[in-house]
Amino acid sequence: MNALGVLMIVTLNWVNPTQNTDGSALPPASITATRVEYGTCVGAAFGTKAGEWTQAGNPNTTQSPDLPAGTWCFRAYSKTAAAESLASNVAQKLVPLVPNPPGMLTVQQDLTAWSIVISLDRVAQIPVGTVAVGTVCDTTQRVGDRYVVPRSAVTFAGSVRPQVVLASCS
């Protein structure tokens, strides 16, 4: 599953049938599509249908649309130009709730303010001053284990006052 905000995409796999219900051979090319239904679950059984999508051709995998958190049941139907099969077994997948990130990350113990130095093939971080205790860190911008902090909270030790300053936050 791939995380996409609080929605997730579920990948389904199956084995295409090789026979018709009368035992006659079903060439792979005869399968024109696979229709997949998704919905709620009642125990291990399919509950109420919430939607469907069709995977064209005869692959043996497909991906769902974005699904919100919950337990989802899936079943698939093989299609030929003439008919559609009965439903497959039911597959079940839990799309978990994703917690929000922690808030109010602040500078507490290591008060060193850092800048970034780029040379040749290496990026280094070098101390440039100190950060006020309790400074709120920008949790959306992280380099290694340090976060961007506002310049206004930094006491620079020298004349170098970089635009981007990093600090250890907890």
Binding site: A124, V128, G158
Partner: protein, 103 residues
Amino acid sequence: MNVRLRWVNSTPGLNQLPLASTSVEARVSTALPWTEINRVPVPAAELLIENVEPGDWIYRAMEIDTAGMMSARSNEVTVNVAGPVVNVPPTGVGTSLTATVEP
């Protein structure tokens, strides 16, 4: 602005191992510790530091032999990296404006 550091690698004597690299360190104030910013393999003898923030930077270097032993520290060089040019309005004519009446 970029800063290019250059140095001359020493020649190992009979009781010295071959050089492996040069450790380049920097700091922005004598009140702050040195930080290794790169380790340049021999025989290279220069290091380009890119997009250096404006202000005074102090650099030094040390050689490291193939056994990891380090030389004494080099001299320190201080580089003042200028900030971006800021255009300001023209000075103006001040009080130089005069008028004369012509026939």
